[in-house]
Amino acid sequence: MSKLVAFAAIQGAYNIVSKAEGKLKKTLEKYGPEQKLEFPNTAYYLPIIYSILGIPVKTLADAKKPMEICRGLLPSHIKNVYHLPYLGPLLDAGMAAILAEEIVEAIRYIEDPGFYLTSEEIDEASGKIWLGAAEDVIFRKRGIEFVDGSAPGFAAIVGAAPDPETAKKIAEEYQKKNLYVFMAGNQNGTTFSEQLLEAGVQIGWNTRLVPFGPDISAAVFALGFANRAAMAFGGVQPGDAKKMLLYNKDRIFAFVNALGDVGAEWAANAAGCVNWGFPTIADTDIPEILPTGVCTYEHVVANVPHDQMVQRSVEIRGLKVTVADVPVPVAYGPAFEGERVRGEDIYLESGGGRTEAVEWVTTKNINEVEDGKVEVIGPDLDQLTPPAQLPLAIVAEVAGRKMQEDFEPILERQIHHLINYAQGLMHIGQRDIAWVRISKAAVDKGLRLSDIGRILHAKFHQDFGAIFDKVQVKIYTEKKKVSELLTKARAVYAKRDARIEGMTDETTDTFYSCTLCQSFAPSHVCVISPERTGLCGAYNWMDCKAAFEINPTGPNQPIPKGDMLDPKLGQWKGTNDFVLNASRQKIAQVSLYSMMVDPMTTCGCCECIAAVLPMCNGIMTVGRDYTGMTPCGMKFTTLAGSAGGGAVTPGFLGHSKYNITQRKWLSGDGGLLRLVWLPKMLKDELRERLHKRCEEIGIPDFIDRIADETIGLTEDEILPFLEEKKHPALTMESILE
């Protein structure tokens, strides 16, 4: 009975738009047209309006035009008999409602500045549990998870479950499936977010359970997140509404769960979401819309029991989620990675300066390894009284015909997040700086240290089964044994680091590709060489090599370098041929060492973006954690918006943080010597390695000649500093030639 839905949704859209118009008028009268109207720290203005209509709303006055468009989109009411077609009008009404609500939510930032907390985490103690619009730093960090598939999609839950326990079950089931849950709206004053808190569930970006706001209009934060992802990672241009919405339909696997009675305004929001290809799955008896077309499958499905809500929703959206089956007594999945174990909750703590702790993956002879064997050498959790502290060594012994020494650090690096995925287990650091906390609740559920071994055994096999055959795990909690192992492991770490250091682009004939991000940026191709790690910072040459072994048809493919075409720019016949094909004929030539001539594509995942500063004859680069202005006149997020999305933009290039300290970084343009500006936080983070490079290039104090935000935020401001410091870039050949 789509007619009833249309009837209600159009009614609802009229209400929403009329209220928004009233609110805008009043706010204009009170604050004046020049009053800023914005979400915190974003380059995407009011992102839905910006992406769909192409209008950058900055002030209250700017909101008038989109408001008029909302009014214009409202269709006639539906007659009971001999009615005109309503699907198109219904979708327009939904869009009008969403656009109007975005203005309403932005106005809330003016009228009630403390209402939303701009943070990843809630502040439950002071009652600030609504997070509102994510600032760009949060959005990028989380958006990448959608791009690389670690978050396959999101469920927008509006309303409330019948009771907190049901809410908890639904939320945990989504967490186990790795989906984000975006929460908005209330059912007679009860919200899903508050139900989760009541049931003792941690909410916030860290646990993927995001409390956007208590009103239905807060649903715009979920849609705004999706549209920002399409702009930042997919390169969809603001104002290209159709492409934006189709992009969402095809690539962003989101849907709505409507819990509780669906009124006219909810119906309008649901209709709005259908424009995005996001269907609504409800627990009440509402009219269904089953034929497909605007969404991939059904548009509205009703009467879904709570215990089937998650499974049905995922199916209706057409999403395949493969969930690792890990045999531990607690819930397991990436959604639990960001969960904290604090104070009273701590049952056991190891490492982190309290005790010694170490993690080590080592290769053994195949006869020495009994696959799946887990030993705990020393006391386990059930022998302790909380709060307890223990030294800890986690040693995974692997064996197999295809196992190589080079793969050891790759497996070892996984330990951090694999352990973290277990609910009630917190892990920080790696190698000899590992830090583990285990919660009382987890121990109550039956978690033991041996479960760490079971996790590693299961996950190593699932994700890396192709590169080894057997793995056994030993967990030591005896001080003497741990100290012994620490010494042994440190020697291995040093050997590994030396080997990586010695690898250069010249010493190998094979580079690797990374097209993981093509799910979002279809023309983006990363070429990864020993001296150029991936721009996301997550993949180096060795990782790619292992990934190819693991999945020979996956996104990391070997690229035979072939004939060298240009040693300065770093162009080879093999890399050019590969990129042409992999970019779907969009890009014919690519330099590994230049941001000026045929630079590589940049996807929105990059850790840093470098930009040319013509006046200084140099280059600046900025990391994504730095939210301030930069001398090129753009913040990171604006830079990423204009250079990201798989585009080639000479003069701009995405790269990893680590890459700055690699010898080939922009060597075609003059390399590190061109670097004239770097945010202080990045300088500090890289200080040690940078210092080494400075010595290598023969200017030990070079690091102090690089300007940062304390020196200036424009070229004019930093140039005198560079002159004073005799920065080498000033005397190099012109960067623009």
Binding site: I52, V81, H83, P85, L87, A241, D250, V294, V321, Q518
Partner: protein, 679 residues
């Protein structure tokens, strides 16, 4: 006259068979008016059809009257079927050559009719663009900007990287000139050929059948079919494709597009249909024929307060403007103006006794109207220099686009002045039905996804998932040789029951309207569960009224859009789609059928096709051509049989596409998403 002769005539009149109205139409209003006509002693086409049989050789297509040595009559006999077919005309022309030439001349006449209509529209369009015609304007600028690039006309200028949109009149003049050039073009290709899906365009190119210019292709048919020229039926059919495609993809399509720009692109709107729309206490004007140009102005004139008060001064309560035939469709789909009826009801509208004036423009206007008008008070007004009627007391008010509104007012005034002259008993049947109409190509796109997601994808999707089994185009006329509206309704109901969505135009659309099939409520009553669900989701009637018969071009655009939306092959011939004209009668229908076929569509006609006397030629049209152009001709007089064959064709195409079985839901993981193409 001698007494003997008088007696003979009397005897003949006595022998004239009296018709039984219930056997002649399924439309109650029509039946009632036939009884009234009988009571009033008025002869109609229904009576003449009963008393005059069609020519038995002409119906076979094998009468050749191209030179004065004939007419040579070559009926197909049993001997020709069983033994060697030795028939030939004086010049040696075989039955195949003769039937092919006759067929070709029908295509030429049909294409000429649509295209000459298109020419008139283009001339008015150009006058409006040049601001020479005060009563017309460029109304739908969005559509103008959408079509301009197809004529190679830029819609903006870029100076120093700054793009500025061009003014609408500037664009319109250039579009108008380019469009008008399509008639006289001698070389190259018509512009709109490129609107066809690429595979279709490439096939046309390969077959060398892309029209060069509209007039040229029609003239060439006339030349080739002159005595002693083209004597190869395959070669004649090839030229038929050029002329027919020039109709569908140029003459008609330009008419549709430019009428949309001048008067607005149709979007869903309410309407009413059947003789019951006439009102006894109002001045009733019926506009009949095919063009929108004058009718649009009569709409304006009839709403003019000055005219309305003039009507009141004559004792009328107001003015009813009702349409008939495709002029009706034109003003219906744009303004919701009521329709009095379809082709076979034209005389019957006058029989009501309340029509104060009937204006006619061109095509499908029966000369008998003059005689029927003479029996009542109705003024018959011809308006087009191409169409005058010598019979009766017909008035001619020639339409001139430079004085359009003045002409229109003149006509309305004639009607009002005639209101007091009504005589005899009037009778208006109660029947009228509501309908939802106006499904232009653009309107369908909008209604399947709104302003932001408008697309044909949902249609394709529901064809692929089997909720919709296929698409049928039911178009064409009424034919006095078969029961009025009957075949249309039977066929439509059979198809709807089988989940086939129907696109319609012309007099066929009106048959559906009168039967209540053009309402959203009809979906639940007549459709299979899948189609009913789709109609409910979109809120549409199961039959979409796309306009007049030149608007069959909208169906070509829609078919191209369906191909472009993906998942159903790459050519119209891949689609689960069939076209038909169950009650056809005019040569335009043959031209339409042939351009659909040339566009890759299976076309089936009711009411026969005059090719039975030439079995080899017939076999070429009905079977041989499928291998050449992908579409083919067929005939089935029984509407149930027609439905069966259309469904069989649709199922054949579904099977070829691999969508004849239920498909599993595809669940996407990251690897699947990475494989998605750019775009």
């Amino acid at each position: 006259m001698s007494d003997e002769t008088k007696d003979k005539i009397k005897l003949m009149e006595k022998e004239k068979k009296q018709i039984k109205p219930e056997e002649k139409s399924v439309d109650p209003a029509t039946i009632k008016m036939l009884y009234k006509a009988q009571a009033d002693g008025v002869e109609t086409i229904f009576d003449r059809a009963e008393n005059m049989k069609p020519c038995p050789i002409g119906i076979q297509g094998t009468c050749c009257k191209l030179c004065s040595q004939g007419p040579c009559r070559l009926p197909l006999t049993k001997k020709d079927i069983e033994g060697k077919d030795t028939r030939q005309g004086l010049c040696g022309a075989t039955p195949e050559t003769i039937a092919a030439r006759n067929f070709a001349r029908m295509v030429a006449a049909g294409a000429a009719a649509h295209s000459d209509h298109g020419r008139s529209v283009t001339e008015v369009f150009l006058a409006a663009a040049r601001r020479e015609s005060p009563d017309y304007d460029i109304v739908d600028e969005k559509k103008l900007r959408a079509i301009a690039p197809d004529f190679g006309v830029a819609i903006s200028v870029t100076v120093d990287d700054v793009e500025t949109p061009r003014g609408k009149y500037e664009i319109a003049v250039e579009v108008g000139e380019k469009a008008l050039g399509e008639w006289g073009k001698q070389h190259g290709e018509i512009y709109y050929a490129k609107r066809a899906p690429k595979a279709r365009y490439d096939l046309w190119k390969k077959l060398d059948i892309i029209p060069r210019g509209i007039d040229r292709e029609i003239v060439e048919i006339m030349h080739r079919t002159h005595m002693g020229v083209d004597q190869d039926y395959e070669n004649i059919v090839k030229q038929c494709f050029r002329a027919a495609l020039a109709d569908g993809w140029a003459g008609s399509m330009i008419a549709t597009d430019l009428q949309d720009v001048l008067f607005g692109t149709p979007h869903p709107i309410h309407g009413e249909i059947n003789l019951g729309v006439l009102k006894e206490d109002h001045v009733n004007i019926v506009v009949h024929g095919h063009e929108a140009l004058l009718a649009e102005m009569i709409v304006v004139a009839s709403r003019d307060p000055e005219m309305v008060s003039y009507a009141k001064s004559k004792g009328a309560k107001g003015i009813v403007l009702a349409g008939m035939c495709c002029t009706a469709n034109e003003i219906l789909v744009r303004h919701g103006m009521p329709i009095a009826g379809n082709y076979l009801q034209q005389e019957l509208a006058i029989v009501t006794g309340v029509v104060d004036a009937m204006t006619v423009d061109v095509q499908c206007i029966m000369e008998s109207l003059a005689n029927v008008c003479a029996c009542y008070h109705t003024k018959l007004i011809t308006t087009n220099s191409r169409c005058k009627i010598a019979s009766g007391e017909t008035i001619h008010v020639e339409f001139d686009e430079h004085n359009a509104l003045t002409d229109a007012k003149k006509i309305v005034k004639i009607a009002i002045d005639n209101f007091p002259n009504r005589k005899g008993a009037a009778m208006i049947p109660r029947e009228k039905e509501k309908m939802v109409v106006g499904f232009s190509y653009e309107a369908i796109e909008y209604n399947l996804g709104g302003t932001f997601r408008g697309s044909y994808v949902p249609l394709n999707d529901n064809i692929i998932n089997g909720r919709i089994r296929g698409i049928a185009a039911i178009v064409g006329c009424n034919n006095a040789r078969s029961m009025h509206d009957n075949a249309h309704l039977i066929l439509a109901k059979e198809l709807l029951k089988n989940d086939v969505i129907i696109l319609t135009t012309g007099c066929a659309a009106m048959a559906f309207g009168k039967a209540g099939l053009l309402t959203p409520e009809a979906a639940k009553v007549y459709c299979g569960p899948g189609l009913a669900e789709v109609c409910e989701t979109v809120g549409i009637p199961p039959i979409l009224h796309m306009g007049s018969c030149v608007d069959n071009s909208r169906m070509l655009s829609a078919a191209s859009a369906v191909v472009a939306a993906g998942g159903l092959g790459n050519d119209p011939s891949d689609l689960p789609l069939a076209g038909c004209a169950p009650e056809w009668m005019s040569e335009k229908a043959v031209a339409i059928g042939h351009y659909f076929e040339g566009s890759g569509v299976y076309v089936i006609f009711g009411a026969g096709l005059p090719v039975d006397g030439a079995p080899v030629f017939k076999d070429y049209l009905f079977n041989g051509l499928e291998k050449v152009v992908g579409g083919k001709w067929d005939v089935a007089e029984d509407p149930y049989e027609m439905a069966r064959r259309m469904l069989a064709h649709i199922d054949k195409k579904r099977k070829a596409l691999g969508i004849d079985k239920a498909r599993d839901r595809v669940l996407m993981d990251m690897a699947d998403r990475q494989k998605l193409s750019a775009g």
